[in-house]
Symmetry: C2
Subunit: 150 residues, 2 copies
DNA sequence: CATTTACGTTGACAATTGTAAACCATAGTT
DNA sequence: AACTATGGTTTACAATTGTCAACGTAAATG
């Protein structure tokens, strides 16, 4: 693996962040207590995670006496958008619609959010293309170099 | 790390799968050629990835003479749904709506997909709750054990 | 003041992932 | 038959991640 690939946050780190985001900052003790209500992680483990999050600059610390108060340096929404888009960027464009459809159908949303989605979709419909092309292969080349599906 | 955590596919492996999914199976040579049109990966690297995907049972092989024909054991859509839902499962429920809104606004969808989304949303609106609760903390406990936000 | 407690820092270790070279057997060529 | 190209298998190695224990120091308590 090449250095500095610096994946933003690992799943475990994410769990820790959720607590801190929700509490708008917390001491390590708080995080440890709350975390242990969800996961059977040792104190050490959680401390390590906190340390790594600070290294990765996802958390900043404010000294309160001898202990630290940990605060997020990024908003939860920004972080969420980032991971989600990072994931979607590597999915077949042609099938993204289907995946979203599934999300829409399986998750629960507030009336307000649904309303916004409806408005947005109405708008989008006006300029939506008839179909989306699959971008899993370097198409132009494919036809030349190899085979049939084009 | 504990053994058998067997993350389904790593990002690089995913790239390889996309090619194979789209071509509905391919020989290593094909995968290597196509892959190298997108990424500066050595032949070796791609072979390793193929090997790991077979280990992970994401690919099955059919012997064709001495070489293999690699085929996916899972559909691309199933795999996509899986990763996407896995990701969403760890996101704050309260904010999922916003994230989807962003996806809807930034990505391009076909008219057909949008139409389906609209229908689905109309249906969902009927039973949608006014608001969604944040599930980042073990709420019940939180109030007792710690603080204020409840 | 001596002791315990809290908490940040270091060190550890196995598994996963990115990346690739080396090796080996077989099929096609000369 | 000898040689080369093709393609699968092994080995390698650094960085990341999941998990912790041990350590050291400052704070709180008896």
């Amino acid at each position: 693996m090449k250095k500095g690939d610096a994946t933003l946050m690992s799943p475990s780190e994410w769990e820790v962040m959720r607590i801190i985001w929700t509490k708008k900052g917390a001491s390590s003790t708080e995080v440890i207590h709350l975390m242990q209500l969800k996961r059977a992680w040792s104190e050490s483990t959680i401390k390590t995670l906190l340390g790594r999050l600070v290294e990765k600059k996802m958390l900043q610390t404010i000294k309160e006496g001898r202990r630290f108060f940990y605060q997020p340096t990024v908003t939860e929404s920004d972080a969420m958008n980032k991971v989600v888009f990072e994931l979607f960027d590597h999915l077949c464009s042609m099938k993204k619609g289907t995946v979203i459809l599934k999300l829409l159908s399986d998750l629960t949303f507030s009336r307000a959010d649904i309303k916004k989605m409806q408005i947005l979709l109405n708008e989008k419909m006006k300029t939506a293309p008839v179909s989306i092309t699959c971008d899993c292969l370097p198409m132009n080349e494919v036809c030349t170099v190899h085979n049939e599906d084009c």
